[in-house]
Amino acid sequence: MEKNNDRITSFQLMMMLVGTIIGVGVLSLPRESAKAVGPDGWILAIIGGILTLILAVLMSQVVQRFPQKTFQEIVNSLVGKVIGTILVFGFAVYHIIFSALQCRIFGEILKEYLLLYTPVEVLIIVMLLTTAYAVRSGAKTIVRLAQIIIPVMILLSIILVVTLMPGADYTNLMPVLRTPPLKLLQSIPVILFSFLGVEMILVLSPFITDVQNVPKRASLSIGIVTLIYVLMIVATTARLGIVETTHIIWPGLEVFKTVDVPDIFIENIEIYALGGWVYQVFLTLVANVFAASLMLQYLFRAKSHKPFVLPILPVVYFVALIPDNLAEINELLNLLTQRFGIVYFAIVPVVLWGISLFKKQKGSGKSAS
């Protein structure tokens, strides 16, 4: 095995962030945003992007303050051992439940559109085994995966969005900013789910070599994600109109059905979008399972995260099969993001950053005296 198997650059972190943040949510994002704020969905996405950007910068600063320290070491030194252990444990549980729901939605969409007769259990198991293989190979392999997949994915999504551009009715985005500002602010939790995954900065902190570049690269990745989201929302709303967008479960996928490339023997473009999306979900899943196994490694003070990967899988699998149908999955997912996700996505980073700032001042004051 290579000696420096757990060293990644900030560029690789950037690719990994794009891969983690864009997950199953991207297909239902236009519906969620249209439901909340009508035609102003793209503005909501930009607001969400800016908020996430701030959070990402805060997290990066925490990481910069503790270079090459694990999540556990960071929280322990900032909030003490007891709360730190609870936080690490919660983080593991959060990632496990989150990957379970990701898995389930992945299975549901694939069964609905591609593999009509394949049992959803088989889809989930196959995906999980592939994930386990990738996760066991360690941080470096995972980010290399992202490094290969993401550039292709960005290119593919741009090509796909370009096919949506002609024939779209952009007046569907009117009237601009008629939503009351208060409602816009209240709808921010809706967009949050789509930006979950930024916490990976904290998870990957012990592996990053060039810490000084992290804020810049992390911001860039959020920029890419926001751009893709805005394009997606604009194209979908323009092509389907608001009423239809709120009506379809996965408008981000269904919108490709309205495309007919004349004189080319390509029908059903949605299949290609779906193909690219599978890679995206795979990366998200890998990141989540990796984070969960890392947290367990810290809790049990083990030397490696590897022994924890396979025991996680059955848990993920069974949690994934708990909800009865999509309606229930969506409700669970909203609950998870708004109660649980927000803690690790927003509250923990802000608190950590605040304390680290406080301690730093105290520390620097001490050294000066």
Binding site: L116, R178, K257, V259, P262, E267
Partner: protein, 391 residues
């Protein structure tokens, strides 16, 4: 040692690539690629023996509500391998659309495959039945396999008859209909309205137009359109009305317009048309205004009529005459749609929501009634650009 490992690896690779297969494979010959579906309301006395499979001995009787006809091309013949009928048609009845599809699978020995479906034709009776029509729309909308580029069409009479039409030079009926519809943008006797538009318009304004297809023994005609309001067919628009409507909706670029002047009927070929709809409030009334800019070629005049046809004043007069005629048609059509059908086909409400949100807030709760009181104005600016090669 290394060589051995490599060998094992290569064997595994070969094994993986050769031994894997599809989880749920269906041979391509076992698939019926449905190109066209006709859906009718079930009528008891149709007397069609082929269609009736009695379900005797079934304690749980189902009420027949639909008659569905599937047409699929004889793929073998298209590939010029075997002789025979160019297309197959299966007719089936049942209570529910999905139900019918499943039971057809049991009769056919082939799997119905809808991903390449091009068109659905619905019969007049079905279109007039709100319950059945809504069920049909939801069935298509909900289905992951059916594309939104599909053409939904309505026929006076039975959809089954449309499928039975034997076209001489086209084997695949669905493709034929698609070709017909793709030319719609150029010759606008038929609306340019695919399923995506119909869904959108129905969702937003509870009204839409559906292209009309008429069939005789061995010919099709796609012309005119049916008006859907509140999820049922409320009436028809003729060919010229459809054409004018398409001009108003800015969905066609080219068409022909016949103008009568000095006891002469002159065909003008419109090469360019740009329409803009505006709705605004003036003195407590909502005024809907259409501004059209068109360019046209003169295609025929009268042989051996010299003198005035080389003067620009003559063409100015013709332009004015044609513009006036079109303006008149637009106003008349708007009033017909408004008064007779009460359908907001031009999506004035949507326009207000997008462009005049303040006004829309005031009228949206009572839009159905307010729409009926809107006034219409039209301004057509038609220019004759080309005269052919004679003066």
């Amino acid at each position: 040692m290394h060589r051995k490992k490599l060998k094992i690896f290569l064997w595994i690779l070969v094994g993986v690539s050769i031994l894997t297969g599809c989880w749920d494979k269906v041979e391509i010959e076992d698939r019926a690629f449905i190109a066209l579906i006709g859906v009718d309301k079930f009528q008891a006395a149709s007397g069609d023996k082929q269609a009736v499979f009695s379900s005797e001995g079934d304690g749980f009787n189902q009420e027949n509500r639909y008659t569905v006809s599937y047409a699929y091309p004889n793929t073998g013949m298209i590939a010029q391998k075997i002789e025979g009928e160019p297309k197959f048609i299966f007719v089936s009845t049942g209570e529910d659309l999905f139900n019918i599809r499943e039971s057809t699978n049991t009769r056919l020995g082939k799997e119905l495959f809808l991903r390449h479906m091009k068109a659905i034709v619905i019969g007049e009776e079905l279109a007039k039945d709100e319950q059945l029509f809504r069920e049909l729309m939801d069935r298509i909308d909900r289905s992951p396999e059916i594309g939104r580029k599909l053409h939904l069409m309505v026929t006076p009479g039975l959809a089954k008859d449309v499928l039975d039409t034997s076209t001489k030079d086209e084997g695949v009926l669905g493709l034929y209909i698609r070709d017909l519809m793709q030319r719609a943008g150029r010759r606008a006797r038929i609306p340019d309205a695919d399923f995506g538009y119909i869904l959108r318009s129905l969702h937003e304004s509870q009204t839409a137009i559906i292209p009309r297809v008429i069939s005789s023994k061995n010919e099709f005609k796609a012309a005119g359109s049916g008006v859907i309001r509140d999820f049922r067919l409320v009436g028809w628009l003729g060919e010229i009305e459809t054409e004018v409507l398409m001009f108003m909706m800015d969905r066609i670029k080219a068409s022909t317009v016949d103008v009568e002047m000095d006891n002469l009927i002159l065909p003008l070929y419109v090469t360019e048309s740009k329409a803009k709809m505006k709705a605004f409030e003036k003195d407590g009334e909502i005024i809907v205004r259409f501004d059209l800019k068109m360019e046209a070629d003169l295609k025929r005049h009268l042989f051996q009529r010299l003198g005035e046809t080389d003067e620009s004043a003559y063409y100015e007069r013709l332009q004015k005459e044609a513009s006036k005629m079109l303006e008149h048609q637009i106003v008349a059509l708007y009033k017909k749609i408004q008064k007779k059908f009460g359908a907001d086909l031009l999506q004035v409400g949507e326009y207000l929501r997008k462009h005049e949100p303040d006004l829309w807030e005031k009228v949206k709760n009572d839009w159905d009634n307010v729409y009926r009181t809107t006034k219409v104005e039209a301004d057509v600016d038609l220019k004759i650009r080309r005269l052919g090669v004679t003066m």
